[in-house]
Amino acid sequence: MDKRDYDVHPPYLYEGYKSTIYRSPTQSLIPVASMLKDVTMPAFGESVIRKWDNDLTKNGRRNGEPIGERIKMSGRVTDEYNRPLRNVLVEVWQANSAGRYIHKAEIHDAPIDPNFLGAGRMLTDEEGRYTFYTIKPGAYPWGNHYNAWRPNHIHFSVIGRQFEHRLVTQMYFPGDPLFEFDPIFQSVPKHARELLIAKFKMDWTEPEFALAYEFNIVLSGSNKTPFE
């Protein structure tokens, strides 16, 4: 069995991230891959995507444009053999440029942007590609430990056709000085952390409009699926 794809994931229990202590399973998982052969997740049709769902600079506007650095995010969703995964539902959500989430329970003392919701969704195309425009999110403080700050990040939720493809993750920006202090980022094995960091793409930037970053997503199915 190929253990490698599990090696990139964080453990359930990571003590530096305190909330894991009472929320992580303590017993071994029961291996059931051979019983899931017929389980495919539903595909999503184009109708679930509305016109500005992939443009977070537009889909929350009330009386003007959102404040902050406009960016374009794009990448491919593939399997581990680099084959495109089409019609994958990619959902994203994030803080605004001041590091404030619109969520009602959020108490960080930074301004809400009335023209920015911070949520979007799209389906991957024939090449497995997704693209969205947004405002670069700011860092924000949280209560894990004294003076704890999250690096700038965008949350991703991905639903592919295989049950095992389900992924929720966070994408980070290159060179963030908070990486070494953030237990959520650090929970990923050292060798795999680079997989969560977008790449700056000068050739994708849109002159006088937006900088661009690339973030590719790799999903694997069951190790029991014969391929070779």
Binding site: M35, L167, R193
Partner: protein, 196 residues
């Protein structure tokens, strides 16, 4: 060919609601799924499945996100895409635990049929702040005699099997099942490794 490494998982965090469950939480955005796995006007035998998520200190988790995925009454998984306008059976549901006073989730669905020789069951994917990697589990039903021969249940040590079985309650107006999820403790729910 060198295999590409998978993208690592990270926690869903505490602030997913306006992106993933916006309508349920009253945000000005749409949702791709909710508490209904069947159409609202569907004239089929609907059931409710309700429960709470408990942490290792026995406290309810008010910021989890629960996804249900299941086959229809004849044991078939959905084969056509989900669209904005729901049809008779979507088979996919999603709820946060932050809108009911006791942090419950309650899904409306139909009991699935027998699936490829396995007893009727619902797949559950669970996310929450404090969970760096989501967990999978399954709901079986306590009024199904086929449970005894179910290949997955038989992999589970007998003393833990009860954690996968929803209990039918005595409500008269609608059939309701209770399914609580315990992350830790004496009744720790059995979680599944779907890749191995």
């Amino acid at each position: 060919m060198e295999k590409l490494r998978n993208t690592p998982s990270q926690t869903v965090g505490p602030f997913f609601a306006y992106g993933l469950t916006a309508v349920q939480y009253g945000y000005d955005y749409t949702s791709i799924a909710d508490d209904m796995l069947i159409g609202r006007d569907t004239d089929i035998n609907r059931i409710l499945i309700t429960g709470c998520v408990y942490d290792g200190q026995g406290k309810v988790v008010p910021d989890a996100m629960v996804e249900f995925y299941q086959a229809d009454w004849s044991g078939k998984y959905r084969s056509v895409p989900l669209e904005k306008d729901r049809d008779k059976f979507s088979g996919f549901g999603r709820l946060g635990t932050g809108t009911q006073p006791d942090s419950r989730f309650t899904f409306t669905t139909v009991k699935p049929g027998t699936i490829g020789g396995q007893a009727p069951h619902i797949n559950v994917i669970l996310f929450m702040r404090g969970s760096l990697l989501h967990v999978y589990t399954r709901i079986y039903f306590d009024d199904e005699s086929t449970n005894e021969k179910d290949s997955l249940l038989n992999l589970v040590p007998e003393t833990r099997r009860h954690t996968l079985i929803a209990k039918r309650s005595t409500r008269t107006d609608i059939t309701e099942y209770r399914f609580d999820i315990h992350m830790q403790g004496e009744n720790e729910t059995v979680f599944l490794d779907v890749k191995n």
